[in-house]
């Protein structure tokens, strides 16, 4: 095996992404679900930066897209945590399997 290549980074990213998927599917706590989503965002960012390093190193476009991803993830986290706090104020609990009051 000669050194670390693109596939190694992509495999790491896939593993982290799938751990995030598992957490998102199984966590009961809304903040836990959000943390799993942050893990998935980071996995995708690793993919973008790895492609920028190995496939298009002259034009580092992947890094630009990764910056946009980070910005959008920050915005998402802010609004989602505000929603979580609001739900907690109204329902005294943020278990996602009990937040079904929008279901008819």
């Amino acid at each position: 095996m000669e050194g670390i290549g693109l596939t190694h980074y992509l495999t790491l990213s896939a593993v982290v992404f799938c751990i995030g998927v598992f957490g998102m599917l199984t966590r009961r706590n809304a903040v836990g679900v959000l943390m799993s989503i942050e893990l998935m965002f980071n996995a995708v960012n690793i993919t973008l930066v790895a492609f920028a390093r190995y496939v298009t190193p002259a034009t580092i476009t992947g890094q630009v897209v990764a910056i946009f991803t980070i910005a959008v993830a920050a915005a998402e986290a802010t609004v989602a945590l505000a929603i979580v706090l609001l739900i907690y104020q109204h329902h005294r609990g943020i278990d996602v399997d009990r937040i079904n009051f929008m279901k008819w």
Partner: protein, 185 residues
């Protein structure tokens, strides 16, 4: 095994172990701490990939801001750090199946795909190149992202405000209500 490989495997082990603890830890606060660890590891991976600006941004935004938000949310929603309540739903076998299946599909297709590896050198001073790209080729997305961040800021304030529903639309320029003064002071 050279230094880069060693650093990669150490960081990968750190990230994966921390990520597993994030999704399985019984105490949600421990999850947040492990999330910070995993995000630090990802910053190290960015350094290995010769993206120093992104590593710095990762530490500033994720480790500094996003995880602080998470910890704030955990602290403000009391009782959820309680270890006695169930922390997973009944989807654990299904979730395990889905995520492992997804992992198998992704990894299989990864090792089958021939990627067009380029051996061009990275530009000198990647941070400067990044800034130029952001203000020339990606100027429009850059501006849109700034509007998005402004919207998220205002949206978060409006959503999290206590009496966001009952506030009367009229009554312009009256003195602040007592509660708001107390918060401001």
């Amino acid at each position: 095994m050279d230094t880069i490989s060693l650093a990669f495997y150490a960081l990968a082990f750190l990230i994966i172990a921390a990520a597993i603890f994030v999704v399985t830890s019984k105490n949600i606060f421990h999850s947040a701490i492990y999330l910070i660890l995993a995000l630090f590891g990802v910053a190290g991976i960015y350094v290995l990939l010769q993206a120093p600006f992104l590593a710095a941004a990762q530490v500033l935004i994720y480790v500094g801001a996003v995880s602080m938000l998470m910890i704030f949310a955990i602290m403000l929603t009391a009782r959820i750090a309680d270890q006695t309540i169930r922390h997973t739903n009944e989807q654990v076998p299904t979730g395990l199946l889905v995520s492992l299946g997804l992992l198998a599909v992704i990894v299989y297709s990864l090792w089958q795909t021939p990627f067009a590896i380029s051996s061009d050198p990275m530009p000198e001073g990647a941070g400067g190149t990044l800034g130029k790209l952001l203000l020339t080729q990606f100027a429009l997305p850059f501006e849109i992202v700034s509007v998005l961040l402004l919207g998220a800021l205002i949206g978060a304030v409006v959503i999290a405000k206590k009496d966001s529903v009952r506030r009367e639309p009229e009554a312009p320029m009256t003195p602040l209500p007592k509660s708001a003064e107390k918060v401001a002071g």
